[in-house]
């Protein structure tokens, strides 16, 4: 299992064509808005989060990562009835941390991707609820069992999704 600390020189940095960099998040958000209402089980998955993590750990540029997370989060916020910025803040942090982590960790194999996504899912949910309760003041409940299971589901799905998205990577 290659989940080791590496020097920045050892890790490869990838980039994406502007089309892929735009379309992948857009499709992720569309997927998230369109399918869960038809297949309720899909509401467990946060595809935009997976894309944020993927773009972050692949591009390994914290500033790009945080802006990617911010934009994706704000668009997601636009589709909810909550104030703009709740998803925005959570995904900004996830985008930043994943990019920073991508510099230090080699997250190219399935196991490391699973673990990283699982961790980021929990971090994202924690931030979301913190913002929602602390800043917005909404009484949101936290269901541990549900979140842990959803984290596993998201991590599993992320492994498959990352493998598919690997095709769009361009070597820097």
């Amino acid at each position: 299992m290659r989940l080791s600390t590496t020097s920045p020189e050892q890790v490869e940095v990838y980039r994406f064509s502007w089309l892929a960099a735009t379309l992948i998040p857009a499709l992720a958000i569309f997927f998230q808005a369109f399918f869960p209402v038809r297949i309720p089980l899909l509401a467990w998955f946060d595809v935009p989060l997976m894309v944020t993590v993927f773009l972050g750990v692949t591009r390994r540029n914290p500033v790009t990562g945080l802006f990617t997370g911010c934009v994706i989060g704000l668009i997601q916020d636009s589709l909810t009835h909550h104030p703009l910025g709740v998803y925005g803040i959570a995904k900004t942090v996830v985008g930043f941390v994943s990019s920073s982590l991508g510099v230090k960790l080699d997250v190219e194999n399935a196991v490391s991707r699973f673990l990283v996504t699982y961790g980021f899912y929990l971090l994202h949910q924690f931030l979301y609820f913190s913002v929602q309760r602390g800043l917005v003041g909404e009484a949101m409940g936290w269901a541990w069992g549900h979140e842990l299971l959803a984290g596993l589901a998201n991590a599993g799905a992320a492994v498959a999704l990352f493998a598919a998205l690997d095709r769009f990577k361009l070597r820097n």
């Binding site: 808005a33 500033v63 409940g141």
Partner: protein
Amino acid sequence: MDNLITRHRELTVLAVVLIVQVLGLAVQVKSTNDPQHPLLLRYWAVSAITPFERVIVHSRDDVYDVWHNYLYLRGVRQENRDLKEQIKNLKLEGARLEEDANQGHRLQALFAFKEQSVLQPLAAQVIGSSGSEQSRSVFLDKGENDGIKKDMAVITADGVVGKVLTVYPRTAQVLLINDQSSGLGAMVERLRLQGVVRGSAAGETILDKIMPGEEVQAGDKVITTGGDGIFPKGLPVGYVVKVSQADIFLRVRIHPSANLNRLEEVLVVTKLHDEVPSGNEAAGAQRAADILAARLPGVPEKAPEKAPDKTPAKEPAKESATVHQAKAVSATKPVGSPASSAPQHAQQPPNAANKPETKPASAKPILPKPVTSSKPAVLKPVSSTGQVAQNVIAEPTTAKKIDAKPISTRLTNAKPTDVKPTDVKPTNVKPTNVKQISDGTQ
């Protein structure tokens, strides 16, 4: 300082972006952003995504229609026969409901009750959702241009769905009743206990604010109270599935009558109406016996043959059999009532003599075509003994839905001795135009 910022450029950018968003949040929370005029970013995002959803949903429907209307016609003849049978039964039932309605008018006039009725329900299609478990809301394919406004109630033939939260020109966002920030005034019908329906973090629907010690049981029906001014009183919300003790109040978990996980078509209640029926209207009402008598020649002679073992098939007894059927419908409770969702349907005894109703045609209710501008539906309030009932009824020409207290005792001309509730099985009505009627004592 500059050196510090330059050295930690990435962290600085992160801090700036976060601060901007926190400030943005603060501004939004403080200004309690008017959902009628959403923020520009929200407007852009919704406008960018919903057209694609609309195209996909409508294209899929077109393909589905072509397949089912022109190609896949297996079983249509049988279904047609069944539906004709169903229409016959509904005609009888319609006559009975006519009498109930008139009686309701009389009672309401007597007690000066205000009735709250649903006028002009607008059919809309669900095209998308927020995609977030923390924000249980859906988008409709109709918006401000179609007459939808904020805080309008959204229902299905089965029960309450939610309320309109934000309106865009061509779409509208509906907050579902199982969202955590939702708060729907509801009560346990049997005990008349009032509480608030909301969602939980795990996606359950909870009836909150019920004091411990109350004898709420699994299976109890939960209906709207009408106190919120959004939903008319008496709309089915769901039924109790589990009761447990929480901190201060009981934790009453309910199963929503409307299938919130698979919403496709909904009705937006574009107009609620309070009125006190005039006594004259009631005075001019026909009696049930008159209506039945008028309809009897049209009653097919097959009716006794359908259930020769249960109803007297002799010619002189035709009228009696018809009245029995009508009584049986009333005795067996809501006919295709939205309130008679899963648990109540399950309680209905199987009846082989009435095949038409055994067809699971109503598993997915067919909702009306949009009635954006058409005539306001005629109000047909229905009453029950002592209490004015809460009913959901359909166009008189198609079907009527009733969710009333037992009303068998109200059939003025019916003999209570020969009632055979199984003679006529309650039909699963496919309403084309649902109207909510309730007493709404205010």
